[in-house]
Symmetry: D2
Subunit: 306 residues, 4 copies
């Protein structure tokens, strides 16, 4: 599928089901894709943080893109993360993903190295120039240490270098600044599961919710209620999803990091819902205990999903 | 060369000379290796931060290791960085580097993802188990956001999982804690160019100075003075090197990040000293201006190196 | 005035006009109070960050509270900041403010010292116990380094220790968590000038906008539009205020901190609007230049305020 | 006593013994002063972070200075912390301390507010101008969020605004930069208990060790060994003190902050050694448990102090 004029709606960052040995479980991946597409989402984002992209070898990354694009066969746009430290390495991932059928690439600012706004600007210009593909900037300071400056984003958007922004910075004031600039053809997406209604109230174009793997129908409903201006019912739906999202903290902070807990919870929920076969997460993440998985089941039940 | 029983002495993190097109300039790389070996360094560390490892594609990384190990042919131990976000990706780099002739691998804690001490412990255990090679932990919180906990290091060292620590954390009190534990066979190396005498006074085994590319003779002299307990002359040599190190700030903070400035200065100095052919740095780093390069020349002259 | 059952509406953090010598300009302070009260605000918050409380000596702090409470004579509730490092020092300020007529005190978590959640809990319990007055928690991590944990807030609220929360953390997801818990009698106020409509959509009770000094009518209008569920017109009003808020960045980052620029801009705007006599800010803040003040005037003109 | 031409040697930051009710225990305070003076320290620093200055009301702060200066009657120089958020408030404390007999004041950069180097420069110039007393800059980023820039320090030192620097930043490279500049009459003191030998090797003038309350004889010995160039024996003494210092972590991180644990340990040790009557710490700090105090006793025994 070629990309739409402007990305809008619900675009889940697709989890990567793994076999117990840590390989991509393509069977489960396609069941997950069908689960999402069947709920009416507007596009898919593979190889984002929620996909455990930082844990996937190059081979596994390519497998993910190829598997999803071949299955969808153009029925939905596929964005692919090209997540690595700097321009030459990101470019390598972007080329692979595009060759494997992705419609657009999503890239953070450089990380590991210390970055200047002029270098960030150069980074995205080189990515756009050398791929010739739509590039979405991914603002994720929790992972890359650097908040993407709204002024840099808007300048790149105005020059047609960037197609969109996926904002997972948590900085709603900066997000609003980018939204209200209203650059033609530029799409602003929030990555927050918890603030969809407010982002859409401000004028955001869409949402990329990790929790959308677990409850895509909920996010599709929420988006449509907001689009219809039915803010009261939207808030009710959003609060239900907030309660469900609390599952990301089931993992004991004494035993594991928040990543292990959050991704572990999403995968446990997908397995409990029968969408994927294994809840395996990649090394060196710590698996949830049986008791923690039981708590995930309670969250699902409370949200009417089990 | 097999690794020595304990890594000691001066182990420069070797810069990666690049052609103007951004490819590895193997001719210059070998001249640099000869420059370092000729000064009497004790081992080489390739694919560290100073090598711009974060900017090198997989192909270029492999070229660096192969070029250096083939040239040295066992005359010096070669440590290779395996720098990537998580265990599966680090393992892939480690295997490639070892196959290309490296004697040991150097790895940071996971980054991009949020990490728990239990996951860090698991990370290093998996690396050691799956490579069967000596593993040196690389503590670089400025790049990876996480300070490596001395307790975790000491536990991994006591279990024989880690062969050494390269400490670039800037936390001299934590460094002292690891040094004074004095784990048999475990080597503690400081990555600070500016605190070599004080680290050796505390009992560190060696030093991995980026500035050692530019003035390896200075660091070899400094190490020998400290080893001989001649602390007064050591301090004088150290202060000369501190003055030289100030070159890393020649690049205007208005135009570039500190990485661009520091690596740019080292490469400019190596070119001015006739060791490498081009001062090119990798994208998206910003090159030094002519005036900034002139200031590098002044630092070299003041240190008696031009 | 005794406090209302629940704090709601617009509660500006009142600027502290100063004479050129740095004393409290009580004449201007009262003009500012009348300006705010005349616009229909619901309460006043003196000695908050916007008041330069961190720059006011104890004597000047007392003068502010006495001046305002005597003038209002119970016509509006007056909240007073008790801003200091730890419990004993905060208590001293709280007692002074209450003796001077304040209706409630607003206190941050301890700062300068490193703080544990158990100490924060103890801090607020001691403040409530020893003052016997309503205590509002002030979440301002940019000033005090510590984000106030929603779980701690909710526990203190449920126990009747806290009367309300002023959230200036920028963390809208955490704010939502506190709001949706809906503790009876507990008031949740946002300190963000830029996210009022979204906070009220989530169910917040009120807003404490520094920019409300400059344009209290705008915030009163915005609050009423939100209360009426007229989200489209609310958004338009909010965006006008966002554009006006950009004045906080008029001060050159080469010459001054963001505090100097922001408070300087608010005071320049108040002087330009004829509300206060001097735009003096406290030492060691850097004054705006004439050119920077002219830019403030342009912001006012663009917002229809000059 | 007037101040010496240059502050050197061991200058302990004096703990503030408290009664169980939280008032200054002046009897114990004087016993502690005698304990320190008797060990041969070179000056005393009251109202520093180790004194719990952030927890002491103004009245208690004044009591501390008056009690100590009256007792010493000029036999040792007394430096007093003037710890508060900004210039006007710091000035008020400085004037009180000087009137109460202090010989010099020690002040951090502004905190709570966001600070620019130009404001820091202005802050210290105003303090020096308005007190007419020696001013020592206190670099403590863990408390005040801002690292004091070596360039700002050196400029203020060269202009005679600052008499010295107490460096508790942990940044040994920046400390070295200030030391090697060797401004005439300007004294550089390290606040690190664990890096005294290395700081003196670099050329520092003295040390301000919180642990010096517990073992002043140890620090006096360490300083003299370093001054004599006996670095081997100095290192042995330093390592003994490092082992002793580990007491600061006896308090459970589940129950309290690191401040509560560290100050609690020092006070418990002083009580166990018979120097002070109560180990009370100020609110809202959490007291050590009996078991934790027993562990303090073991540290003392291991260091030969019980």
């Amino acid at each position: 599928m070629s990309m739409p004029a402007r990305l809008t709606g619900v675009i889940p960052p697709v989890c990567t089901p793994l076999t117990p040995e840590g390989e991509v479980d393509t069977h489960s991946l396609l069941k997950l894709v069908d689960h999402l597409a069947g709920a009416g989402v507007d596009a898919l984002f593979v190889l984002g943080s929620t996909s455990e992209v930082a844990f996937l070898t190059d081979t596994r990354r390519r497998t993910v893109v190829e598997t999803v694009t071949a299955h969808l066969d153009g029925s939905l746009p596929v964005l692919a993360g090209a997540i690595d430290t700097t321009t030459p390495r990101v470019l390598a991932h972007a080329r692979t993903a595009l060759a494997a059928g992705a419609d657009a690439v999503v890239a953070t600012v450089p990380f590991y190295t210390r970055t200047h706004p002029a270098e960030i600007d150069r980074h995205y210009r080189l990515l756009a120039e050398h791929t010739g593909a739509p590039v979405v900037a991914y603002d994720l300071p929790v992972a890359v240490q650097t908040k993407l400056d709204p002024d840099v984003v808007l300048s790149l958007a105005a020059d047609g270098v960037l197609t969109g922004l996926k904002d997972s910075s948590g900085d709603q004031a900066a997000l609003r600044e980018v939204i209200t600039a209203a650059i033609p053809g530029f799409s602003v997406l929030t990555g927050s599961e918890l603030l969809v209604d407010t982002a859409l109230l401000m004028g955001a174009d869409g949402v990329v919710p990790g929790l959308g793997n677990v409850d895509p129908h909920g996010y599709v409903r929420l988006f449509r209620l907001c689009a219809a201006g039915d803010w009261d019912r939207a808030r009710t739906e959003q609060e239900r999803l907030c309660n469900l999202f609390a599952m990301v903290d089931v993992g004991s902070a004494d035993r594991m990091g928040r990543g292990s807990s959050g991704i572990g919870a999403f995968k446990a929920a997908l397995r409990l819902r029968g969408v994927i076969d294994h809840a395996t997460t990649a090394e060196p993440q710590i698996p949830l205990s049986d008791g923690e998985v039981e708590r995930v089941a309670k969250y699902l039940a409370a949200a009417g999903l089990l």
